[in-house]
């Protein structure tokens, strides 16, 4: 290889190397937590739960399809796990410093901190995420995952669907409450 192509391929390598920075994504975090000790994890198959009515418009059906799943992970705070609790908060906070997570808002009241994020853009949302922690309760993150979700049509959709409560495996959530 001549000198120029060596330089170019080296540059490409460097570029690719920095591009794949291996920043932990929320997806990776959620998958890990389903295995971790002390974690409660729930996964709702939205497709089974939201059933568009027979006479619903194509638009409503498409909107229902745009919501793919809802998952949540929750780490309960006990007397003995202060260090682990703070570590989880720190990990999650780091994940959310990534540019793709845009802030919607935050609420802090009586020791309960909540932050809301989304990915995608305002008219076509891919994920809506709630991240909360409280020294009395624990730390948790919940995520609605979809494909180009449109907020206005989602509101409209709720008026035109049946929610199949039987499909929700409530046992997963029993331990939290």
């Amino acid at each position: 290889m001549n000198k120029r192509s060596t330089i170019i391929s080296l540059l490409l390598l460097v570029f690719l190397g920095t591009a794949c920075k291996h920043e932990k994504s929320l997806q990776a975090y959620l998958v890990e937590s389903s295995e971790k000790e002390g974690y409660m994890y729930g996964d709702l198959p939205v497709g089974l739960i939201l059933n568009p009515k027979e006479d619903a418009s194509e638009e409503v059906k498409a909107t229902a399809k745009s919501i793919q799943k809802i998952n949540a992970a929750f780490f309960k705070k006990t007397k003995n796990n202060e260090v682990a609790y703070q570590a989880e908060i720190a990990t999650l906070k780091t994940i959310f410093t990534q540019k793709k997570y845009k802030t919607l808002g935050s609420v802090k009241t009586k020791g309960m901190h909540m932050k809301f994020y989304y990915t995608g853009d305002a008219a076509q949302i891919d994920e809506v995420i709630t991240f909360g922690h409280s020294d009395k309760i624990g730390v948790g993150v919940a995520r609605i995952l979809g494909k180009n979700m449109n907020p206005a049509s989602i509101m409209e959709m709720f008026g035109n669907i049946d929610i199949n409560m039987n499909a929700i495996d409530l046992n997963q959530f029993k331990t939290i409450f």
């Binding site: 845009k102 919607l104 808002g105 609420v107 907020p151 206005a152």
Partner: protein, 172 residues
């Protein structure tokens, strides 16, 4: 030449930082409740055209949100923090060159509203509300709320909202 450019940039930098950075310290303090809503959220909310909102206050707020950039609210029932908020507001008002829009005195509530004027008389680019409850005997701050709004804000709608807020705090 480079030095001059650097110097100008460094001097201008503090001016570019938003008003809200004044109050960021409050976020980490204990005894402070906080709500922050960002521009993206307002953009998304303004797309909900068909939503009905129950209470009057909510409706008033909804009409204002369409052109908002950021909303921040900090509140405390701790007297020391209330005093800190008082000092912070005064600093912010001076630094941002805000002008007083309204003053309300209602029983033991004191409300002051400041704005940053724009070329259009009915609109302001920033609103800062400082509400405090005082102990009538000692005249000391008991509770305080700071509300900061940036965006393209219609001041007539703000004064309507204040009336509602005063009535709410008197109900407590």
């Amino acid at each position: 030449m480079k030095k001059i450019i650097l110097f100008i940039t460094v001097t201008l930098l503090p001016l570019l930082s938003s008003a809200q950075s004044f109050f960021d310290q409050l976020e980490d303090m204990n005894n402070v409740d906080m709500v922050v809503i960002t521009k993206d959220a307002f953009e998304i909310l303004s797309k909900f055209e068909n939503v009905q909102i129950e209470n009057n206050q909510g409706m008033q707020i909804f009409n204002i949100i369409r052109d908002l950039n950021e909303f921040k609210m900090f509140s405390t029932d701790d007297a020391t923090v209330a005093n800190t908020m008082d000092v912070m507001s005064k600093k912010a008002i001076k630094k941002q060159n805000l002008t007083e829009l309204m003053r309300v005195k209602d029983d033991d509530s004191r409300i002051k509203i400041y704005v940053k004027a724009t070329k259009n008389k009915d609109f302001v680019s920033e609103v800062l509300m400082f509400i405090r409850d005082i102990d009538k005997n000692s005249m000391k701050n008991k509770e305080a709320v700071i509300v900061s709004l940036t965006g393209n804000i219609d001041i007539n709608k703000i004064s309507e909202l204040t009336d509602t807020l005063v009535k709410e705090s008197n109900k407590k």
